[in-house]
Symmetry: D2
Subunit: 301 residues, 4 copies
């Protein structure tokens, strides 16, 4: 990741000049503000702004439930209760704004989450930088033979080298041609909004992404999951660490109930009840399909 000297100077200046506020302040989040967390080979995540903390969640819940919530002894218990019972609105009271630099194919997955605010760098207006994601060798995986959307073993030796050469060469050539087509040196120069179409999906873009905590958790549950593509998962994992420092109680509840939690179907509940009662249950007697049984057994064995 490369910050220009101007960007670095701007960050340093911002970090040196705290100002007084009457708003809720999360000390853990203040430490992250503006700090660029490196992700992949040229990517980054940094917090630009935030609103609220753990207390904002319980405060909102107490407005909703009024005197009724006085019985809950403490904030952690209340936050865990809200998470367990899928009360989403108190978590919506916190908001965060990230600056993210990421490859276009990751951005395309990310934007599927619609309940967020986005300002992306526009290649209609401006010229993209010569920065492309090239996987590290330890992430250069073959197509899975059992899962249509998964990865299998690592590529090795000559095949790995050839793939990396292709990715690097094609990216560099595409960018050279992008510059050639844009150039106004002895020619008119193609419109930016057209020239960009030559750039491959591993070119880096960047955006501001603003989201409330409930929707951030929803995003993280899907994208920090073991089934998410590695290249988006590393962003999600970075944001998990940030959220842990920002709202430690809410993150703790999220980790236990969502990241570490399991959803059981009615059929699965029945199987577990029979097992707890001492019965031996197999796929054939479970009422589940083979695929479902395999996933179920993956949790309990």
């Amino acid at each position: 990741m490369t910050l220009t000297p101007e960007q670095q100077a701007e960050i340093d200046a911002a970090r040196k000049a705290p100002r007084p506020t009457l708003r809720a302040v999360s000390e853990g989040m203040e430490r992250h503000l503006y700090t660029a967390h490196e992700v992949l080979d040229h990517g980054l995540v940094r917090v630009i702004d935030y609103m609220g903390d753990d207390a904002a969640i319980t405060q909102a819940a107490r407005v909703s439930y009024g005197r009724g919530t006085r019985a809950v002894s403490n904030d952690e218990g209340l936050i865990r209760y809200l998470m367990r019972h899928w009360h989403s609105t108190p978590f919506e009271m916190c908001e965060v704004k990230f600056h993210v630099k990421l490859p276009v194919f990751v951005a395309r997955q990310w934007i599927r989450h619609r309940t967020a605010n986005v300002n992306e760098y526009s290649a209609r207006y401006s010229i993209l930088d010569r920065e492309f994601y090239i996987p590290a060798p330890e992430h250069l995986a073959a197509q899975s033979t059992v899962n249509n959307q998964g990865r299998g073993e690592l590529l090795e030796g000559e095949e790995a080298a050839r793939v990396l050469d292709i990715l690097r060469d094609d990216a560099m050539r595409a960018y050279d041609h992008y510059e050639d087509m844009l150039s106004q040196d002895g020619q008119k120069g193609l419109a930016r909004e057209l020239a960009r179409m030559n750039l491959p999906a591993n070119v880096y873009t960047q955006w501001y992404w603003k989201v409330d905590l409930h929707n951030l958790f929803h995003f993280l549950r899907l994208r920090a999951d073991a089934h998410a593509q590695h290249e988006i998962r590393v962003y999600a994992e970075t944001m998990c660490e940030i959220a842990r420092d920002w709202v430690p109680l809410a993150y703790g509840a999220f980790e236990d109930y969502r990241l570490g939690g399991v959803s059981l179907s009615g059929k699965a509940v029945e199987v577990l009840k029979r097992r707890l009662a001492g019965e031996t249950v197999t796929q054939e007697t479970s009422g589940m399909s083979k695929g479902e049984w395999r996933e179920f057994e993956g949790v309990w064995e």
Copy 2:
């Protein structure tokens, strides 16, 4: 409006204790934080938290449009450009959270705006206070004779007095019966979630309402409008004043392009062009219906 001594003490304490932050700070908004602005007879609006300022809007726009925006000489010009061209995403980068106390019939209009986060006081969990909206005499208007959803002349004398008596008496009786039904004194006491059904729509509720600036402006355009019902308009007007102090450049653009702006149909553009060329145009030669013409002439005459 009545704050309990505990609430007032809490506000005073919060307002006395500024803490350092590295985030963007809006001085104009800091002065509003926690201050209860009175609305109607028992209502209030106060800012609980906010995120961003005018610079956050231009910063987001400059991420989107990159080097392209360097040409725009200053922040005010850029913000006006964004507003004029309906660029909504930069305005979404600012967020605000209000505590609002309002009559239920106002809350029912308000909640139609779906792109916001809400935590409302729950009458399933808790007991509502004995507070009802009773219109001031200068707002006690008759049904409009020309507009199905508007108000006409003021009620006067005996009729006005009788209406106010009805509203007051029915509210008090309904609340007395609410308390009677809830009471566990010598009886079981009806469930709160049932007893509340006896309360009329002028009872006060309260909520936390969190919204981004783009959607706040959309709300204010519709609800600070002369056609909005008076009882919601006074809330919108209070929030306009707050927004003016929070993001003065954005609010200025909003005031010029939205609150003070006019939308013309293609037909209306043609009529104005003909008039500017010296032609006399009447409803008959305008191509507009009578109702549309009346609205059009209301702007230009």
Copy 3:
């Protein structure tokens, strides 16, 4: 529930006149179209329009996953897979529009679900009918002594009679006064938008409510749940029956994974694993709070 003769005639006419379409048709849903399902004492649910069927869900999934989904042997297996893995977008491809007549306090809960389209009868424009929800004796419950938002035992004898008298009398008096204030007989007549504030929360309103299947399921999961208030649950249950006929495969998956399913925290998974391994686990050794343990044991005991 009362349909006017005009409404009934309109329904009968619509049901007699099928027209040809090239769109997907759900035979099960065609039978529901326009049929008023009675709910509570004056409420109703009826389907006004719909789009899509079970095949629309699998068709969308196959666009997403392309050749990859050919391996899944059948539609039911694919739909169960999508539900199990929280793939929401294929279910969003189906849409339904209901006409619902419901008490205002139910409408206020319902509208909290923001991802739907709503057109509600406006009491600013028009005059509400004299129809109020009065609970049947078997639903007149006392406040729960263990749950702030729940119901306990039924009210009995004199207390029940007194509550019903209050609810009926206050509703009738409020409506009489509503009519008095509106009346233009010898007086100006109060504006409708003001007069409505005298009506209690058990007055009936009505709306068109349009939602996609994913969000309908989300609504039904929360509102057909045993913890939902009875008066909204009966609407949800009616809509469950309709959804079952509309999209039987999707509804079957929803029933197994959501209505009949259970979410386990990481801690709960650990407890079950220890039990399956033969260990005796108590609240003290579970790592759960008492409240959480009580809910957990409620599932497994």
Copy 4:
């Protein structure tokens, strides 16, 4: 655009087999169902399903405004009134589902509209086809010299030829390498989710896109506009023609008030009033900036 024989057979079969329905039917839309409208060199738009018609809009409005709307003499007048006064919810009662095949750089603009449902062909699961957008010579424009995001004159002669060669060659090479990397012939074969990153932004993707009429109109207003990029505008224009046949009254109102309409700021209103009163107003005396004045004069001169 290429349909496989299987796809064509499927379309032909669907179009031959009308089924009876009790739902609202739009004859104009039935003629579009499944028909592939060609866009760009390999793209398409076709309607897969729809819900509602002009009458659904007025029906919803009449539920909202009740008896109050009886005064409006006809459906067209009511629909124009709703559009003029920004009543959005009645238009949300109609829904449409399109199948769209489009270049990735167009898809990236399109997806910015968040209030829609999308199922996109997944290049994690499946292999993309060898289809790339190559501009026709009459759309191969130079960068605008006055507008950072616009196009200027056409490229000519050798420059045009060279650009087309680059785009074609790079696309073909990228696809050859994509296939090479995926191949399991004598090697493991790179995971699909990685190999796709080599494909440029003019590769075609496809999706199902479902949206309500209000949000479709919002999309069309922005994307059928003269300032929209040509490559998305041609899709928007195709969808305008479809909407015109589907809901002719609503489309007519949209065309007059939105596509052909103009938004005036308060300042612009003042200038026009002064001109109508005979005054000569220049930029210097208008209170507008130079940029704003240029846009304003563009409408009125």
